[in-house]
């Protein structure tokens, strides 16, 4: 059984249908990439999965349970973490306070402390700056903080929305190295990216979104060599 199964969802903003009849699935331990141009519906899809938006039709099954009508804050406790577009770290709080908020739904102090240690191992830069105010971090560091914060809820799956946005090529590489590390450590990841090349190079499988529908799906490495994809998304 797939860990996350999205079945025929449709999402509207008022009169506008942003996504039409999208279905996809993610198995435990996979990295799945959702790629597509601006406005294709990638972020809307992600928001619907994590409960910030409610689909007008369709289901979102997480570990076999339909979560499409459950409030977003409860879905977090079920083991889903969402790293939002633009990082959205709490600018006025310290790095440590941000990370602690990531563990907001948990009460097991000892395990939270261990989890914090693991996050610091993945992101040594956050450990160095734990008392710094998050708003003063660089873009790359804020992305690391947003990812570390998501890990603090000890999730079964992490949704990542444009982790490379606004970062220098060097930092993009660093962030994707960390994504691969997280994957190796067993985390399941749903990755939304405009940087199709990077996304496809770390993902197992990928879905291509075009104006609210899935245009193509398949093995990520094969897609890297697909002529249509190359032309439309890889700039080759």
């Amino acid at each position: 059984m797939a860990m996350l199964e999205v079945k025929n969802i449709e999402v509207c903003y008022g009169m506008i249908r942003a996504i039409k009849n999208i279905s996809f699935e993610i198995n435990k331990g996979e990295i799945v990439a959702l790629i597509g141009a601006n406005g294709a519906g990638k972020t809307t899809t992600l928001h619907t999965v994590s409960g910030l938006l409610k689909p007008t039709t369709g289901q979102v099954l997480f570990n076999g349970k339909d979560i499409s009508k459950i409030p977003a804050h409860k879905i977090v406790t079920m083991g889903m973490a969402h790293v939002p577009e633009g990082r959205r770290v709490f600018q006025q709080l310290s790095v440590l306070d941000n990370l602690k908020l990531g563990a907001y739904t948990r009460t097991d102090k000892k395990e939270i402390a261990e989890n914090l240690k693991r996050v610091y191992e993945h992101f040594p830069r956050l450990a160095e700056r734990k008392h710094q105010i998050a708003g003063t971090l660089s873009g790359g560091e804020q992305q690391m903080l947003a990812m570390g914060r998501a890990l603090m809820s000890n999730p079964d799956i992490i949704l990542m929305d444009e982790p490379s946005m606004g970062l220098s090529p060097l930092l993009v590489k660093e962030i994707f190295t960390i994504i691969e590390e997280l994957h190796k450590a067993g985390t399941t990841i749903l990755l939304v990216e405009q940087n199709a090349k990077m996304a496809l190079s770390v993902a197992n499988r990928a879905y291509v979104l075009e104006t609210g529908s899935i245009a193509m799906s398949g093995d990520a490495k094969e897609m890297l060599n697909n002529d249509d994809i190359k032309k439309a998304y890889l700039g080759q």
Binding site: A72, R88, F90, K100
Partner: protein, 288 residues
């Protein structure tokens, strides 16, 4: 010196009320103009309980409990259904709630001021009374400081406190942390209203009469204080409140006394001209 103590004491009343305005604004993104009337309800709660039990302690507890419940109820019944509505609709509703509470008090207790009762009296403390500081000023100042320190520690060191800061900065991101925003808003109204009950209590120490419009002037002054300090900022509300209290008392003690109210509110205009975000307010950066 004595004017300063009086001012600080009055200022801590304003600060307690301003905290309610600023916290609700920060977290629910609305101006709760019925906040001042919660003070009035607290004052009547003290009067009624005092008449029934003759125990000031019971009266204080009753005021805090009643105001807290009232704050939560007002939010649930009047504001929650408007979540996501235009700010203007919420603002008008808040003004409506304010008139409703005043009207209700008038209906139940009449429009005339009523003495709170002879049991409501602080003991004389000779040492400070002799140098001209009233017991009520001293008690208000000390309790005010204790309450504000406690609130600051609560926000800084508890999980609920950091969730409040998180919701106030970025509601969407807070939801993604698993924060139940509705619950945090309820808690905020509860805390704000409890602070208003304290303010009502201190107010009655200074002026031992209740009337339906009792909350209006301290309410609007404290709102001004919250804006001067930077609405949404907790230390800002404290600074703004204390500042206005001190200015008010010094004006009253000077030949400018008839212009006190004008001076208080002109300060708002001056500060907003010089620093539109208020003294400790933060510039909200546009998110791209």
């Amino acid at each position: 010196m004595i004017t300063l103590i009086d001012g600080l004491s009055l200022g801590s009343i304003y600060a307690l009320i301003a905290l309610g305005y600023t916290m609700v604004y920060g977290i629910a993104k609305m101006l709760n103009f019925a906040h001042g009337d919660i003070i009035m309800v607290g004052a009547y709660a003290i009067m009624v309980t005092l008449a029934a039990t003759v125990s000031p302690i019971a009266a204080i507890i009753a005021a805090i409990v009643i105001c807290t419940i009232l704050g939560i109820l007002v939010e649930k019944l009047a504001y929650k259904p408007l979540r996501g509505a235009s700010p203007l609709a919420v603002l008008i509703t808040a003004i409506g709630v304010s008139y409703f509470l005043q009207g209700l008090a008038q209906l139940v207790f009449g429009s005339q001021p009523k003495p709170v009762g002879s049991a409501w009296k602080l003991p004389a403390i000779k040492a400070i009374n002799d140098i001209g500081i009233t017991t009520s000023a001293a008690v208000t100042l000390i309790c005010g400081i204790i309450i504000m320190v406690a609130l600051t520690l609560f926000i800084k060191y508890t999980k609920t406190g950091s969730a409040m800061l998180a919701v106030s900065e970025d509601r969407g991101a807070a939801i993604l942390m698993g924060v139940n925003v509705n619950k945090i808003i309820s808690i905020t109204f509860a805390i704000g209203s409890a602070l208003a009950a304290f303010a009502g209590m201190f107010y009655l120490f200074q002026i031992p009469n209740t009337e339906p419009t009792l909350g209006a002037m301290p309410g609007i002054t404290a709102f001004t204080a919250a804006v001067i300090g930077g609405i949404g900022s907790i230390p800002g509300a404290m600074v703004g409140g204390v500042l206005l209290g001190v200015i008010e008392k010094f004006c009253l003690a000077s030949p400018l006394a008839p212009y006190t109210v004008a001076i208080k509110f002109s300060l708002l205009i001056v500060i907003l001209l010089v620093k539109p975000t208020g003294l400790l307010g933060k510039v909200v950066r546009e998110k791209v």
